[in-house]
Structures are given as structure tokens and as C-alpha cells.
């Protein structure tokens, strides 16, 4: 084979994945693979297919931390997908700055996104230099304590109303052979648990001081010390839950092996799939029952710049579909998250979702740490938290010292 033919063959294999996608086929990559998540994303696919285009599902198993590197390397490597999920905030910031993402401002203006998307901070974190680059699809909040009512009955204690009661119930639960707190081994879970404790027990001001102003002094101060003490208690309660994935941990709560889990509202989808009823089989305490604040992180779709005209048109169509009221309702009911628009009817929402909606309506929704800290700082925090939560030998003081260091150099 001569060089030219060889080069042509190479080029052909490189182009093949793009060539396969027909004009209106759009490959969408995401990391929604648990039962509840897959059911939710199927709603998007259905709505998009109804526009005459075709949703090519590109689910990547293993969670965001596995999926994001794959997505990024495909985009930077010149093999972009039609659309991709990121947590909005700073994960895709540099890709946008490098001009690899499509500007959606025209679609946004046509759909009046600025008016319908609530809270406004969602769209703000999609906006860079006045242009809109992503479509927020849901609001996720971390600050939830999920409890299995039956487990508490078995242990002979009333179902806790807040975090403090939950901690107090710990010894009784252990006696009954139930793990008080389920915590998966993936680093982001320990990190999320800590951030949740910080906001719930420390309040809005502490959250803003530490994560918005990145004030190292408060991070080293007595108020954060209290949070680390609480985290040490949580660590005590979580010993022995030898699972990795968050949905395995949630499953422990669903089956009654564990009494509670601090996890974002996406855990709700798992309860639903298992046929559990909010309020009866399980309880949810937003803000851990202590304070009524939630942070509004969430998922968003980004659209890499595509060469072909047809693909770009399909991208616009998908962007419109994602924000449409009907899709928002269908998707979020399955996903257990809150819709991004204030003007949709969620009469069918269950107890837990209604609690969340109420908090958002009161304006008690804060910006999440994913949006405030760079992935780099988040990773350092994760390294610290996973070390702290897995080894009882690390004292709260030592952990706080390192935490303050991370905050002082955070960006």
C-alpha cells in the first residue's frame, strides 16, 4: 500500500464516526446511567425524536468524573459530539473560552430564556462575556438527608426532624444492626457531604465567606471547626458502609440496611424506581432539617461547534426542546430534580420535590460550590475529604488546617 492510500485510509477511519451520523442525527453524551436517571433521559430522547431529528444516546457509565475526561478529549481532539452534559459552572469554561462551544444566544433570545429560567443564577453560569453557551436542564441541590422510616421504627426511635436528632439516634440504630449513615467511597460524595454540613449547620453567611470570598481566615476559624467536628461525627456514623457508587449507598437506605444518606436530590429517582412513597416509606429533610437553604447546581447541555449545517440546526432544535415546559416536567419528575422554569405545573410532584420548589420560590437558593470553585480546587478538596472520611486517624484540626490552605489558594 503506498503512502497516499495509507493516509487516505487513516483519514477515512478518523472521519468515520462523523460520517456515520446522518444529517439530523445528534449524538448526545451524558453520564446518566442509574435507573432513575436513564428513565429521565429517555424523556429528552423522546421529545427530541418528535422534532424529526434523531437522538443518538452516548451514555458513559461511571459517573461524571469518568465521563468528563472522555467528553473533553473528544471535543479538544476534534471529534465533537452533537451535545454533551456538564455540570454548569466552571467545568467547561476553558472549552468555551477556546471557542470550541457554540454560542446559543440567538436560540436563547427567541425562547426568552432570560425571563423564564429561574433562578437567574442558572443562566448566569452559562453566560460568558454576555453570550450564552449552555442550556440548564434541571436544578440539583445537595442539601438533603434521606431517611428510611422503617429503619427508625425498627430501632425504636422516632424519625428525626433534623441532623442533630439524626446524630443522636446513631447509637440506637447501631444497636439494631443498622448502619446509621450510608456513604459511598467515591471522593465527590465525601466532598458533597462536607459542603452540605457547612451550609446546613454553618448557614448562608459561612458558605459565602468560605466559598464565595474564599476567606482563608474564616476557613481556619471556630465556625468551620464546628463543621469539621460534625463531619467527624458523620464519619463515626458512616463506618462500615463498604460501597462505592452513590446509588449503591442509596440502595442501602432503600432496603433498610442503612438508616440515612446525605445525598443530592437525584437520590429521589432511585426511591421512586424502587416504588417507595415519599412521606410514608422514606422522609427527606432539605437543608438537613436545620436550615432552609439549598444550593442550585445542576446539569446543563453544551453544544460543541460542528462543521456541518444540518448538525447545527439539529443542535438548535435540541436546545429548544430541552427548555420546553412539557419536556421539563416529564424529565424532572423522573429525575427527581427541580425544573429550571418557574412557570410549569408540577401538580404531580411529590412531597420532597414540593419542599424543594418552595425553598427556591422563597429565594433561598444559593450558588453551588461547583460553580464557585474551579475543578482544580474541588479536586484538592475531594482529596482531603475522602482522606478525612475514610481514616479515623485524621483529626478534625488537621483536616481543617489543610482545608484553610486549599481555600487560601483556591480559584
Amino acid at each position: 500500500m503506498n503512502i497516499r492510500a495509507f493516509a487516505a485510509a487513516l483519514a477515512a477511519t478518523a472521519v468515520l464516526p462523523l460520517g456515520l451520523a446522518k444529517a439530523a442525527d445528534l449524538e448526545v453524551t451524558h453520564w446518566w446511567t442509574s435507573g432513575g436517571e436513564a428513565a429521565a433521559v429517555a424523556e429528552f430522547a423522546k421529545a427530541f425524536d418528535a422534532t424529526g431529528n434523531k437522538w443518538v444516546d452516548g451514555a458513559i457509565a461511571g459517573g461524571g468524573s469518568t465521563a468528563r475526561p472522555i467528553m473533553i478529549s473528544r471535543i479538544t481532539g476534534g471529534d465533537p459530539m452533537g451535545a454533551t452534559q456538564f455540570n454548569h459552572g466552571r467545568q467547561a469554561q476553558e472549552l468555551v473560552e477556546a471557542g470550541l462551544m457554540r454560542d446559543l444566544t440567538a436560540v436563547a433570545e427567541k425562547g426568552k430564556w432570560k425571563e423564564v429560567i429561574k433562578p437567574a443564577s442558572l443562566l448566569e453560569s452559562c453566560t460568558i462575556d454576555g453570550k450564552i453557551y449552555c442550556v440548564p436542564v434541571n436544578i440539583h441541590s445537595w442539601q438533603w438527608l434521606w431517611l428510611n422510616n422503617e429503619a427508625f421504627e425498627k430501632a425504636g426511635v422516632p424519625v428525626p426532624k433534623d441532623w442533630n436528632e439524626f446524630v443522636a439516634a446513631g447509637p440506637k440504630l447501631k444497636e439494631a444492626g443498622i448502619h446509621p449513615l450510608a456513604l459511598g467511597g467515591q471522593p465527590w460524595q465525601a466532598n458533597g457531604l462536607f459542603d452540605t454540613l457547612l451550609l446546613a449547620l454553618g448557614g448562608k453567611e459561612l458558605h459565602e465567606k468560605v466559598y464565595v470570598e474564599k476567606d482563608a481566615e474564616s476557613a481556619a476559624g471556630p465556625e468551620v471547626k464546628k463543621i469539621f467536628d460534625a463531619a467527624a461525627q458523620a464519619r463515626e456514623l458512616s463506618i462500615g458502609t463498604n460501597v462505592q457508587d452513590w446509588n449503591q449507598a442509596t440502595n442501602m437506605v432503600i432496603t433498610g440496611k442503612a438508616a440515612g444518606q446525605v445525598m443530592g436530590d437525584w437520590a429521589q429517582g432511585e426511591f421512586q424506581i424502587a416504588g417507595k412513597v415519599a412521606g410514608k416509606d422514606y422522609s427527606c429533610l432539605p437543608g438537613l432539617g436545620v436550615s432552609q437553604y439549598i444550593t442550585t447546581g445542576g446539569d446543563a447541555f453544551y453544544f460543541p461547534v460542528l462543521e456541518d449545517e444540518e448538525g447545527s440546526k439539529a443542535q438548535d432544535a435540541l436546545a429548544e426542546v430541552l427548555v420546553a415546559p412539557e419536556t421539563q416536567v416529564a424529565f424532572n419528575l423522573k429525575k427527581g430534580s427541580l425544573p429550571i422554569r418557574g412557570d410549569v405545573d408540577l401538580a404531580t410532584a411529590n412531597d420532597c420535590m414540593k419542599k424543594g420548589l418552595e425553598i427556591v420560590a422563597q429565594g433561598n437558593a444559593l450558588t453551588s460550590t461547583d460553580q464557585l470553585l474551579s475543578p482544580d480546587s474541588q479536586s484538592q478538596k475531594q482529596d482531603l475529604m475522602t482522606e478525612f472520611f475514610s481514616s479515623t486517624s485524621m483529626t478534625p484540626e488537621a483536616a481543617q488546617e489543610r482545608f484553610a490552605e486549599i481555600i487560601s489558594s483556591a480559584d
Binding site: Q91, E94, A98, G185, Q186, P187, N242, S379, E387
Partner: protein, 300 residues
């Protein structure tokens, strides 16, 4: 081939010309990708590149942060424990197995296949298999407990103090078969007459192995050492499949640090700094050794 001119010696440059032309692509790849890529990585480890490489230099900042990070220190310690132990054990076990196989036993082929079989599996598969075997609920601990020993406890993957040994077990299971085969080939290369001479002199078998056979197998040992050592430095998939670095970060390894910081934390600079340190470590070990082995006097 170039024709041979009878009078003057052919130009050295044009000897075996076809072979040289054929190896040009490989030379270019080696220079461009291995050397060029390594240099590029080292240069960019002095920058503050985030998601995309960016040439704004910050001196040794990345390295300072690297060495003050406890996760990196743990990674290095784990690599040292894993490396030294897996080197020793795979050599010792591999040699013992090979020596046993060399006793003209029956069904040698069968045994050899069994011992070598794990090597046919990738580290990911090995890791997953051992993750299940060591899982406290379904694996060894669960089985022994269901047999009646209720207090039996064996869960290395969930105990931060010994998790690296759990990974070591899997690594050894996978790797010793290959070492055994290499050693067996070496043993088979020893002249039968040497054994006869040793027997005539009344030297016990273990002494023959230790003082005659092993020194004669020096090249085999060196080949094995290089193969195992290169596998150790880049150990990554085994850890990811078995523990993903957990519990906490008790089983982190340098290669995983590099990957996580380059791609998950979107901090290329930090990842490059870590990989530069890995390169440096390898260089510090390899260069003096290669100099001793291949440099200096030419060995027959």
C-alpha cells in the same frame, strides 16, 4: 542491497541500506513522540496550564504544590511498597515455580498453562476479579463466614492500612506466571553437563541452583527485572479496577494522580509536574543501571 565494490570498503552509512530505510519511521516516531512528547511535558510542567496547555511559566510552583500534597506522598509510598514487594515476590515465586517445573514432572504443559493463564487477562479484568474475591460480603470472607467461622475477617480492600497488599496479591497472581516462563526458559538453557558435573562433585541441588545456576541466568534475571519494573511504575488500571484509589486515598498511585489531575481536575500543569517526577524517578534508576550494564566494557 548495495552492490559490493571489490576494491574499497563500502561506506558504513550505506551498509544494510534497506534495513536502515525501513527503520526510519520507527526512529522518527521514537524521537518525535517519545522524546519530543517527554520534553514537551517537562517544559509545560513549569506552566500554570489548566484544561488546555498554556505557556505562562510559573517556575517550580507546580512541584512545590505536588510535594506538599499528602495524596502524592501517599502515592509514592504505595508505589514503593508495591514495587519492592512485587519485585521480590514475583522473582522468588516465579523462580521457585520454574525450578519445580524443571524437575521433569508429569503434566508440565498443563501446569504451565494454568500458571501463565492469568497473564492473558488484562489488569482491568484481574482487578475486577480480585475485587470480587476480596469483597467482604461475596468473597473469601463471606464464604468462610458462611462455613461457620463467624468472626473471620479478611477485607484488605476496605482497610486503609493494608489495602495496598490486596492490590499486590492481584498483581502477583497476574504477573508471576510470566516470570515463571522466563525463568523456565533460562533454566532450560543451562547445559545438562553442568548438572551432571555438579552431581558428580556431590553438590546438593539447592546449592547448585543458588551458586551455579542462578549466576549463569543473569541475563534472564535482568530481562525479567526490566519487564516487571516497567510494569510497576505505570500501575494504574489494577488500582482503578480494584479500589479506585480508596478507601479514601489509601491506595493511590502516581499514575492515577497524573490522570486525575490532568483530566478530572483540569489542571494539566499539576499533572505534568507529577509525570515529570515519575520520569525523573525512572531515569534515576535506569540510567546508572543501563550505564553499568551496557556501557563501559563490551561483554561477549
Amino acid at each position: 542491497m548495495t552492490g559490493h565494490a571489490p576494491a574499497k570498503r563500502p561506506n558504513q552509512l550505506f551498509r544494510n541500506l534497506t534495513a536502515k530505510i525501513a527503520s526510519i519511521p520507527m526512529i522518527l516516531i521514537a524521537l518525535g513522540i517519545f522524546l519530543g512528547g517527554s520534553l514537551w511535558t517537562v517544559v509545560y510542567s513549569f506552566t500554570n496550564s489548566k484544561l488546555l496547555p498554556r505557556a505562562s511559566f510559573v517556575g517550580f510552583d507546580q512541584f512545590e504544590r505536588l510535594w506538599s500534597s499528602s495524596r502524592w506522598i501517599i502515592s509514592i509510598q504505595n508505589l514503593a511498597i508495591y514495587g519492592i514487594l512485587s519485585l521480590i515476590f514475583s522473582m522468588v515465586i516465579g523462580f521457585l515455580l520454574a525450578a519445580l517445573m524443571d524437575q521433569k514432572i508429569r503434566f508440565e504443559n498443563t501446569f504451565r498453562t494454568i500458571f501463565l493463564y492469568p497473564f492473558a487477562l488484562s489488569f482491568i479484568v484481574t482487578g475486577l476479579v480480585w475485587q470480587w474475591i476480596l469483597n467482604p460480603e461475596f468473597g473469601i470472607q463471606g464464604i468462610v463466614r458462611s462455613l461457620g467461622w463467624e468472626s473471620f475477617s479478611f477485607d484488605p480492600l476496605y482497610n486503609a492500612d493494608i489495602v495496598i497488599y490486596g492490590i499486590l496479591i492481584a498483581g502477583l497472581w497476574q504477573g508471576t506466571g510470566l516470570v515463571m516462563c522466563l525463568m523456565l526458559a533460562g533454566l532450560r538453557g543451562i547445559d545438562e553437563d553442568i548438572w551432571k558435573a555438579a552431581r558428580v562433585d556431590g553438590i546438593p541441588m539447592w546449592r547448585t541452583y543458588l551458586f551455579i545456576v542462578i549466576p549463569m541466568m543473569r541475563p534472564v534475571f535482568i530481562t525479567t527485572l526490566v519487564i516487571i519494573a516497567s510494569g510497576i511504575v505505570k500501575v494504574y488500571d489494577l488500582v482503578v479496577a480494584q479500589t479506585s484509589g480508596g478507601p479514601g486515598n489509601a491506595s493511590e498511585v502516581p499514575a492515577k494522580y497524573v490522570y486525575d489531575y490532568m483530566f478530572q481536575a483540569q489542571n494539566l500543569g499539576q499533572g505534568f509536574a507529577a509525570s515529570t517526577m515519575m520520569l525523573l524517578t525512572v531515569a534515576i534508576i535506569i540510567i546508572p543501571w543501563a550505564y553499568l550494564e551496557f556501557g563501559g566494557k563490551k561483554r561477549g
